[in-house]
Symmetry: C2
Subunit: 166 residues, 2 copies
């Protein structure tokens, strides 16, 4: 199924949220603000930190923040971080290890598609995801909502948070 994972979706929500923050954000705050369960938030933040998209600080006053400007982070970066290199089939990764590649009859076609997908992902930045109404009139009405309400309604049912979330 050609679909990004739910965790990737959550990760995107988290990154979009961090876009609006200047200071270090503890996982507990991110969870409360996004409505995603704290353990899930922690898990994703760890992965994102490891991948270099965000930076972290341990201890009191610690937390996470974006390492680069939102417009310098593409959807491709996000997917690479959370799902690994894009490869819609075994045959279409950049570093394809498909042992049948030299003789593949369909692999070249999937490779072309893979390349197009990657380009599409590179063309969309976190900044655009954060401010979609600039680029995508179909969600223009989102401007009438408050920030917190927007995030809590982003991507289908959210996992239970560790805090009350009305």
């Amino acid at each position: 199924m050609l679909r990004i994972s739910k965790l990737t979706d959550y990760g995107t929500v988290i990154l979009v949220h961090l876009t609006g923050q200047a200071r270090l954000c503890p996982a507990s705050d991110v969870a409360a603000d996004t409505g995603i369960a704290l353990p899930t938030v922690q898990k994703l933040l760890k992965t994102l930190s490891k991948s270099g998209l965000i930076e972290s600080a341990r201890g009191a006053e610690g937390g996470y923040r974006l390492r680069k400007a939102p417009r310098d982070i593409s959807a491709a970066d996000i997917l690479d971080a959370l799902e690994g290199p894009l490869a819609i089939t075994e045959c279409s990764g950049d570093d394809s290890s498909c042992e049948h590649e030299p003789n593949c009859s369909a692999g070249g076609a999937w490779q072309q598609i893979n390349t197009a997908i990657r380009k599409a992902l590179l063309d969309v930045s976190l900044a655009e995801m954060h401010n979609p109404s600039k680029e995508f009139p179909l969600v223009y009405t989102v401007l009438g909502k408050t920030g917190a309400q927007r995030q809590s309604e982003v991507s289908g049912p959210m996992p239970e948070t560790s805090k009350d979330n009305p």
Copy 2:
């Protein structure tokens, strides 16, 4: 994980194989020729038949064949048939049922990506998959192989066939 399923991959192999056949092909022949297990072949052929990409004939002398010319069948058609409508997130399907869509902050961006992916898929036809060397010089060397050998090496390890397949 942004990846087509293994069954879709097999399904593609099967369609590519049917491209080279003029007559009705029984599932048993398709299985023998592609090296895919008969039950799996039967399962996929049923689905493909149901979706309208191929037509079937029951009974003695029965089998399956393409319903349209290979160049009129796109990768998008194949995916639609085997995986359902393309929707990389809940928010990006053509008939999105995401209840949060009116307030989605990232959905517009995913929608753009979804559209680009769909276009890439529409741009590649079964005919091109069948004759990749025309379009993709990187697999030019495939011409030195026999047809049967090519197919058996297409997409990673094949499931065991119900027949001997050296």
